[in-house]
Symmetry: D2
Subunit: 344 residues, 4 copies
Amino acid sequence: MKFDCDYMQGAHPAILEKLNEINKCDYPGYGLDEWCRQAAKDIHKYLNCPGACVHFLVGGTQMNAVAMEAMLHAFQSVISADSGHIAVHESGAIENTGHKVHIIPAADGKLTAAQIRENAAYYIENDLREHMTQPRAVYLSFPTEYGTLYSKQELEDIAEVCREYNMFLYIDGARMGYGLTSEECDVTLEDLARLTDAFYIGGTKCGSFMGEAFVTTHPMIKDHFRNYMKMNGALLAKGWLLGVQFHVLMKDGLYFDICRKANIQARKIQEAFESAGVEPYVRSQTNQLFYIIKKRHVEELEKICRFELDHWIDDENALVRFCTSWSTSDEEVNKLIEHIRGLA
Amino acid sequence: MKFDCDYMQGAHPAILEKLNEINKCDYPGYGLDEWCRQAAKDIHKYLNCPGACVHFLVGGTQMNAVAMEAMLHAFQSVISADSGHIAVHESGAIENTGHKVHIIPAADGKLTAAQIRENAAYYIENDLREHMTQPRAVYLSFPTEYGTLYSKQELEDIAEVCREYNMFLYIDGARMGYGLTSEECDVTLEDLARLTDAFYIGGTKCGSFMGEAFVTTHPMIKDHFRNYMKMNGALLAKGWLLGVQFHVLMKDGLYFDICRKANIQARKIQEAFESAGVEPYVRSQTNQLFYIIKKRHVEELEKICRFELDHWIDDENALVRFCTSWSTSDEEVNKLIEHIRGLA
Amino acid sequence: MKFDCDYMQGAHPAILEKLNEINKCDYPGYGLDEWCRQAAKDIHKYLNCPGACVHFLVGGTQMNAVAMEAMLHAFQSVISADSGHIAVHESGAIENTGHKVHIIPAADGKLTAAQIRENAAYYIENDLREHMTQPRAVYLSFPTEYGTLYSKQELEDIAEVCREYNMFLYIDGARMGYGLTSEECDVTLEDLARLTDAFYIGGTKCGSFMGEAFVTTHPMIKDHFRNYMKMNGALLAKGWLLGVQFHVLMKDGLYFDICRKANIQARKIQEAFESAGVEPYVRSQTNQLFYIIKKRHVEELEKICRFELDHWIDDENALVRFCTSWSTSDEEVNKLIEHIRGLA
Amino acid sequence: MKFDCDYMQGAHPAILEKLNEINKCDYPGYGLDEWCRQAAKDIHKYLNCPGACVHFLVGGTQMNAVAMEAMLHAFQSVISADSGHIAVHESGAIENTGHKVHIIPAADGKLTAAQIRENAAYYIENDLREHMTQPRAVYLSFPTEYGTLYSKQELEDIAEVCREYNMFLYIDGARMGYGLTSEECDVTLEDLARLTDAFYIGGTKCGSFMGEAFVTTHPMIKDHFRNYMKMNGALLAKGWLLGVQFHVLMKDGLYFDICRKANIQARKIQEAFESAGVEPYVRSQTNQLFYIIKKRHVEELEKICRFELDHWIDDENALVRFCTSWSTSDEEVNKLIEHIRGLA
């Protein structure tokens, strides 16, 4: 039983089936094929935004770096929560393209409109602004690295600040499926197309072998995006592999079905912990659950399953993460719950 | 019938079969899985070089950029033929990491040891060398972008110059399989492990969905290669996808069998052109064939198949490329040959 | 009367005199001249470190960027206090060279050995370390941006952590002269040469027209420093201009005499504020003084002199900086003191 | 006697005189002072282009890198002659900012409109253009590295190609003064302001201690140029040092007077070589003279003066450069001429 992360198995069987079907066909290279076109259409059905452009990239770190390089001039920076993936776990990919990640502390992984405004205003109002990087983009994760969600109102407020200070709003959707299908989510892809300048719909963690679908509505970002992709080694030769996977996931909503299921299973685990009197580190709204648990509980749970040990808080307590995924089975969840209830 | 390039179909059926078999298994992320370990072992059998390190990346442009960033300090450059892929068709990926590609004209895509020596010596002997980039790596393609091959002696000579001038020797093997199985090739993977500091064995164009296997023998390059991969968005979350594909290709030599076949078919097409009195632009030794053909021949051949029209030399003549691949069938080749013979 | 900063006047008269004397001579370009050699010797007298290398650059931002590019591989970062000049006021110069500035909060501008250890250890001990930038250098300012100083013991402790975790220790000495001549300073240039891998002795703010003297003791940094300088546009054609200025400043200790004087004057102003019951924002040990003062005091003081209004804390209070310099006269200080005493 | 280059002496005496006069004044930092404003006005008198912006930087390599970073998006390149300073002698400064220098062979250092058109068109018309860098700027030197000049018609033609293909036209004017005052020059600063998007007027080689005056007429380049300067360490703290020097040089045309003189002296030397039957390597139109001379002549001339030995063509012949400057005296020239006439 593995609850350590959501990208351990291959692809949803429907994807593999399709791949078996078309493996012997010939397709043009670099994403200029019919599957990429079709998948873009499938995604457009959710966007209500005819002007949006869709591109398919292989992975999230690559995506974020390409997006930032396409959005930012050399002297500009991107604002991120201190837990933001680009701020911590991408080995300086953004800085490697020459841009500062302007970090703001955020306890639950969420930036507020007020925080963003304060930082943007500080730049504008400062006499020394030519000596500082100009914040030109805001990076959010949806859901965040702590499994939390922005409400529609929170995104509206942040989008307003971004418009006011002429900053791009970009959303990292590596776990987008788990976010959109959370019971607590009041945000849709249509909202994201309306409120952001660009975002991506994650595939790797949500049912595909690999692949992330980038959506942008801003003319400047659309303009030469493929050049930025190629320059960053992000233009897959057999791009149709990404297109066909997103087609299978999006054409009839499979993407949402399998992610919703994972959320439901996470809720069951959440309830079990609650019943056992274990308080969450951050109250998750999606498929990632963070708890500080006792050493002996760590040891007990490790006997029956894998989970992520983030770090030891002290000698007796550790921050751990349990993660469901599109491939988590009911049996696995039930067995885990049983053991959680037995913790004392 | 498609002879425009060698990366249009999916993967060899044996790969897809294996993928179907293991799709429901869980694997650790980022290439730290059993398939990557196994594939590395499979490759090691050909290297006779226990100290070599193997890593799996998704594509060639990404590979070249990561390799150069791992090899070069900021003020250092890489020497390449003017037709080198990094010099022309990677949208400045190397320069984007901050390094100059030092370009040398090479009619058939091949650099000579003498050319490399001359350029390396010019730097060393120049009083203004602090004002110039230091050539610190040599980039070769094997086979070259024109389908030509370096002989073992040529590589020995180049390797000697590189040692003498303290330069890394790096070989782009996007089409490595077609090179190694050419009838005219006297080079082995063992030679490459001995003579170079790093090279890669191409998968994307030689039978896999995607993936390139990087091999390095140099301590400095080995040292932090995974950091460089991650920083460049080249550490695939489900890295086992790459491992398992290379395992299937390498464990019993399938890689070489399917590429050898493609070369044989290319030879047949070559003979047909020769019989028809069409001179090659460059005499290919592998699966890519370059010809300057007449406009009416272009039009005739376009009726029965696709091929790459590189560019029009003048109003009446075009440089074209025909490319066989691991998936090219005998029927396709025979039909093409028939038509070539009918050209007048 | 101007107390806003320490780089507003030209150069110390002795420098200008020397410049008048040698203006008609011919010198080799790019710092390969006799004045740069002589100035390096003059500096060496203070270092007791025969292996140290000295280079002259034009300004501080340039210096920091060149030094970091020479120290760091692409995936490596530099640790800095959140008030560090490279973290705030260099327009992302370090990130522009591809490196993350790893920021640590530090109330008085000073990092502690414990903070540095914690951050270095977190990287080493983390399973995901390949996903993070590797801290490879520590950036300190001496004095800090708040005018505070590290004690010798503090530097010893930090140097030990750096050795333990294989990190370069680098000190930005834009105001080095004011630091070394503070009454509270127990650190010498000899200590810095012993404890750090590189540091610079600031000229621009300490009596010269422009110019900063870089000192490094580490073989890897020495190795190609001039290439890094040239690549960053930091190899001044008439480099002798920098050499001759440092010669004048360092040969008989003029540098220290004029900076000591500025510190004495700062102390007088400090006492005046203290007598007036104004508490310092940070207790300065050098030529920069930070106070939070009332709006009406801001207005009163603005009538007689210029000073830096950092920002308004609220409607009634502002953080301000008063700065003495090598060129501040006794008259100016006395007049300012008189007015401070009159504040009510 | 030194004819090796034109940046060996200090500044024109008028500059030093002015510096002595104002050394004790206080000025705001970073080029926001009255001398920079005044020097900009002095330059504007020659431009007839009220919308132009003027900035002062310290040196040429820095200037070129900042200009390119301000002009180019990450995937864009700059076209340069193979002898262009950015292509050879700036240690990869442009590539270090992430941009490819797209090199075109040019025997006498001059690009033609036809060459530029061909390269720009190749990009536009190529199906693989997303795989290549987009040429977005053209770099010319005026005069070139070989001392040659573009005629007004040549610049008009190049400017037209640049407009047609939406490329910036940028001119490196490190030796601008020698170019504009050549007897063969039919180009004015007004022409340059009209025909280019940006250029710079060199100070370092034309009479100042250091400093280059950047002029741009393009809104996109103007927009954040100071941010680009600061990010590249090119915003001099005491920027007024640059302003005052350009004021002295430009206010009454001193710049042109002293450079014209150097050209006249170069002509005398040119005639002497011609009389001695020595053919020029490239026919210079300005202050740099290139000759291939015999070994024994190299040895004879080295007895009486310094000059630049570019490289040995073979055992018996060397390419050498003689360079006059604003500070070359009549005595020096006469003595050199006498010796040249004595060569046999």
